[in-house]
């Protein structure tokens, strides 16, 4: 009975890991729609510019549209600010949303539900002129420890500003995200130094009760589209959430694959456990067989057992998933924050699809896991034949290398597949993932041969009875020994592969830092880290800062989104002369080695950009900018590991012409007197509390911190994978010993000591560990190569320097050997105790 609870637990954890990660990553990266639901009811359409930036003149063009009675236009500006908790160093990144309160007041839903924006004011127009005032939800207020009427400090576009809390929004259902700050449109524009700018205009239909009426909605959409100025586009609101989700698609894909692996390993555990049950009942099954019980009945019994396990286990797994999601969501949202954009951890919601996916996965994998033992049970010979020796007929196919070799070959062929291009323009390396799967599985199947080969080499050197027994058993390579090795190989190869990728990444980034960051001080807006955030620093503030007497040269960088034919990319405005001649980069193609096409703006582009848009050998890319579609042409390609959207750098003047802005994102300073570096840094810090002023060392720490953050989830999952693999090893060893009952009985009669038995079992476990390490490390090297040269290049567009962490791999081998040894002994002691 306890045995069944264990199995249920295994299924539950496998399904739970998958579901938890799915939910957590979803809520950590795609909680866009929330504010609409919470504040304005739901908006129906969005009017956007391709670069996610609307200017006042665009708004003017919408005047006619805004007079229609059938809908309401709500202009929205959105950005991030950092709240500084009063009287402490605590900072929290918040989403700042500016709304035209006047427009909001007209919304039918608001009028109906009466969301109050003020206590004392009787009329909505009293809100007007609420300069320097913000509204927050109850949860945000609790988090920041503020009350109505308090003042609150924000770091925004490089300045420290005090705002007054006009009111804490009544939010009894807890719908408002805990990182949301609302303010009047002009207030936010000033705060973010984005005068006259909007992110989008939301459209809310007047007759909200007709939302289900598709014909009506289509009609509205057509009317809106007809009137829309050329450079703006209209999309249903859901698409925007999808866009955002697409931005993090690669990240979430990574997690999904990892969690699928968790399920696979879980399935392997179930297989081992069900198999152990078959082995333990082998003689009973054999007796049934000799009584003439049909094999298909046995098969059905075992498959049914797996089905029941899968069903109950995955029901429990859905619950476990909820718990895991709670735990994981914070970690994941930190990563999304660091990598993409400000996000919060709301909306951890379990949909019926989650439940169904969880159940289906749990049941399918349990059935798959139950199938092999069931087959094994069916193939158990009748009792009289069984008496002859040790048996495991159902797994004899593990002895043939054909399937394994075939899978390796298939993986090689899969590498020829081109990557699949996703919605947001990022690539999914289907072939690479397929190859990884094939290679792991193939290696697992072949690992039994490695075990036999190694044991064969070692055997002549084994003289004592204990060593000789253990090595001969390994050399014999029963199907069950092979199964145990195979399970470990999967875990080992994945972990070694991941190690390599992370190490390669870290090494590459450090190298990149050494070359790229040669300036003395780096200045950026405080608190904002995400590559997907393009807030920036108030230009006036920057001008003032650059007057510092110790500055010799300032490399000012400006960025904004630009719209390539597919997805989104980053367009930067830089000092081209400095970038081409002075600034050090790791150049993939040095400036001038490519010929910029006439009639297009010459640009230096990142490797990611070049790969995404196929201009590694030069050419033209068309980008949508606030000033219309522009052509750029690369004359050099640099390595950049900052973001996966790619970046094209053009001259600052042109950038300002195209974007109508001169707001910088960051600046690198070269000092006259480098001896006074720290002094200058401290002076600037004091003068500009809203800016982060860092030297090279500090910048590197921040970047590496973000890097570690990114791989936290990966690390955690590798660890879980390993733990599960070891549990599998224990179960596998128990099965092995169960299968060898006759051998132990013989040994007992021969006077073989219990110590000897335990030692031999330990050696067997260690042998399995070593074989799994050898096969797993070789596979892991292949996976590392695959991750670095295929998967990373295809999905992120950057080439890493392949680093093989030889030392870690060796230590890992030692660890595996020791763990194998200990597992063997534990299994033997437990086995002995159970007899």
């Amino acid at each position: 009975m306890g045995h069944y609870f264990l199995l249920l637990g295994i299924v539950a954890v496998g399904v739970g890991a998958f579901n938890g990660i799915r939910q957590a990553s979803r809520s950590a990266s795609a909680n866009f729609g929330l504010f609409n639901q919470a504040v304005s009811g739901q908006s129906d359409f969005l009017i956007e510019s391709p670069v996610q930036r609307l200017l006042e003149e665009d708004l003017a063009k919408l005047t006619r549209l805004s007079k229609e009675p059938d809908w309401h236009l709500v202009p929205v500006i959105e950005g991030s600010v950092t709240a500084v908790k009063n009287g402490s160093e605590d900072k929290k990144q918040l989403r700042l949303i500016g709304l035209d309160l006047l427009a909001l007041g007209n919304l039918p839903t608001l009028a109906k539900e009466g969301l109050k924006f003020s206590d004392e004011d009787a009329n909505w127009y009293d809100w007007l002129g609420s300069k320097n005032e913000v509204w927050v939800g109850q949860k945000t207020a609790d988090l920041l420890e503020v009350k109505q009427g308090d003042s609150i400090s924000f770091l925004a576009s490089g300045r420290l500003v005090k705002m007054k809390i006009r009111m804490i929004l009544n939010d009894p259902d807890g719908n408002l995200p805990d990182d949301l700050v609302l303010a009047d449109l002009p207030t936010v524009q000033t705060l973010l130094s984005r005068p006259g700018e909007l992110n989008r205009v939301e459209v809310v239909i007047d007759q909200v009760n007709r939302r289900e009426d598709t014909a009506y909605l289509n009609d509205i959409e057509n009317r809106l589209a007809r009137e829309l100025p050329q450079n703006l586009s209209l999309a249903p609101t859901q698409n925007r959430a999808a866009d955002r989700a697409a931005m993090t698609a690669a990240f979430r894909l990574n997690l999904t694959i990892l969690s699928l692996i968790a399920i696979l390993v879980g399935a392997y555990l179930i297989l081992q456990a069900l198999d152990a049950a078959v082995v333990r009942r082998r003689s009973e099954i054999a007796t049934l067989r000799s009584l003439g019980v049909d094999g298909s009945i046995l098969f059905t019994t075992y498959v049914l057992e797996a089905l029941v396990l899968g069903l109950f286990g995955s029901v429990a797994g859905v619950g476990v998933g909820q718990v895991l999601a709670f735990g994981a969501v914070g970690m994941l949202s930190d990563t999304v924050n660091a990598l993409y954009f400000a996000t919060s951890v709301e909306a951890l919601n379990l949909t019926s699809i989650d439940v169904i996916v969880g159940l289906v996965l749990g049941i399918v994998f349990s059935l798959l896991a139950g199938w092999l033992p069931a087959r094994d049970a069916t193939q158990t010979p009748p009792a009289q034949v069984l008496a002859r020796g040790d048996w495991s007929p159902g797994f004899s196919w593990l002895r043939s290398p054909v399937i394994g070799l075939g899978l390796l070959l298939l993986g090689g062929i899969a590498l020829l597949f081109p990557p699949f291009v996703m919605e947001a323009g990022s690539n999914m390396p289907v072939g690479g993932f397929l190859a990884a799967g094939c290679w792991i599985l193939g290696a697992a199947l072949l690992s039994g041969h490695v075990l036999v080969l190694l044991a064969g080499w070692v055997r002549p050197f084994c003289s004592g009875p204990v060593f000789r027994l253990a090595s001969s058993r390994l050399r014999d390579g029963s199907s069950r020994h092979r199964l145990a090795v195979a399970g470990l190989v999967v875990a080992v190869s994945m972990v070694t592969g991941m190690f390599q990728m992370i190490d390669s990444f870290r090494g590459t980034i450090e190298e990149w830092f050494d070359v790229r960051f040669q300036a003395d001080l780096y200045i950026s807006e405080s608190g904002v880290t995400g590559a997907g955030t393009v807030n920036g620093i108030d230009p006036r503030l920057m001008d003032e800062l650059l007057k510092d007497p110790n500055i010799k040269y300032a490399d000012v960088m400006r960025i904004c989104y630009a719209k390539p034919p597919r997805g989104v990319t980053v367009l930067a405005g830089v000092d081209m002369k400095h970038w081409s001649d002075q600034a050090r980069q790791i150049w993939l193609k040095a400036p001038g080695s490519l010929q910029a096409v006439d009639g297009a703006e010459p640009a230096l582009v990142s490797e990611t950009f070049a790969r995404r848009f196929g201009v590694m050998a030069g050419g033209v890319v068309e980008l949508g900018t606030p000033d219309g579609t522009k052509k750029i042409s690369p004359f050099g390609i640099f390595c950049d590991y900052g973001n996966e959207f790619g970046m094209a750098a053009i001259s600052s003047d042109i950038w300002s012409d195209w974007t109508g802005s001169d707001r910088p994102i960051n600046v690198s300073l070269y000092l006259r007197d480098r001896a006074k570096l720290l002094e200058t840094r401290d002076r600037l810090r004091l003068a500009y509390p809203g800016l982060d002023v860092r030297n090279e060392r500090e910048l590197r720490d921040v970047a590496l911190g973000i890097f570690e953050q990114t791989f936290k989830a990966t690390d955690a999952l590798s660890f879980i994978g390993l733990a599960v693999a070891f549990a599998g090893l224990l179960l596998g060893l128990l099965s092995i010993f169960d299968e060898s009952t006759q051998t132990w009985q013989t040994l007992k009669h021969l006077g073989f000591s219990t110590h000897g038995f335990i030692l031999a079992a330990g050696l067997e476990g260690a042998g399995i560990g070593v074989a799994a390490w050898v096969a797993g490390a070789i596979t892991g090297l292949a996976l590392g190569w695959l991750l670095v040269f295929v998967i990373n290049v295809q999905s992120f567009g950057w080439t890493l320097l392949w680093t093989v962490p030889v030392e870690s791999i060796l230590w890992f081998g030692l660890l595996l050997t020791v763990v194998g040894f200990v597992s063997g002994m534990i299994a033997a002691i437990y086995w002995n105790f159970r007899r």
């Binding site: 020796g389 040790d390 000789r468 001969s472 013989t746 021969l750 006077g751 073989f752 000591s753």
Partner: protein, 232 residues
Amino acid sequence: MFLNENIKDQIKPVALSVADVRKSFGKVDVLKGIDLKIDAGERVALMGPSGSGKSTLLNCICGIEPVDHGSIHVGGQELSGLKRGELEKVRRENMGYVFQSFHLLPTLNAFENVEFAAQLVGMPKEHRLARVTDLLEQVGLSHRMDHLPSALSGGERQRVAIARALVHHPRLVLADEPTGSLDTESGSQVLKLLKSLSEELEVALLLVTHDHESTRICDRVITMKDGALLAG
């Protein structure tokens, strides 16, 4: 003590002596007071219907099953009161065991199976190799030494098992229906070997058997019924 023994006993030391051994599994009394003495080099056949407790007695003698009452001496050493490790030592040094279904170690070849038992008692290598070769020759398997058990016939396996039971110079060999899984031809070959080798090596033999043919190689036949030895 000497006074009670006859002269023959004084010349030939006792290989096994069992005195008033009782054993029950739960409420079932399986051995109800067994007294048995086997001299060095003596061959005794133990007969009796199945379920009468023969295998249980053998297990008690080799110390795998603890007894509830009574004492067992093997080679002059009392088993009760020994620790598990000491029991294992007595077992591997003083006894050999032959099973009905051979029970060779499936992953070791014939030579290694025999050598294994010799290794367990720490026999020096030179001596060991010579002895194993010699014994396998005596059981007529010098041409099959490097075969795995699965490649041997039933009779051949049992002959390997006999070599294994004798390789370490035990005082006592326990054989539980060693011909039970064999055809008549191989069976009689196995019995012949047991006789000649026990004679040559001066090993006592307790042979559990069902058929009267087998008793012919023995000096004495005892019969067990319902957990007790029948007089005579």
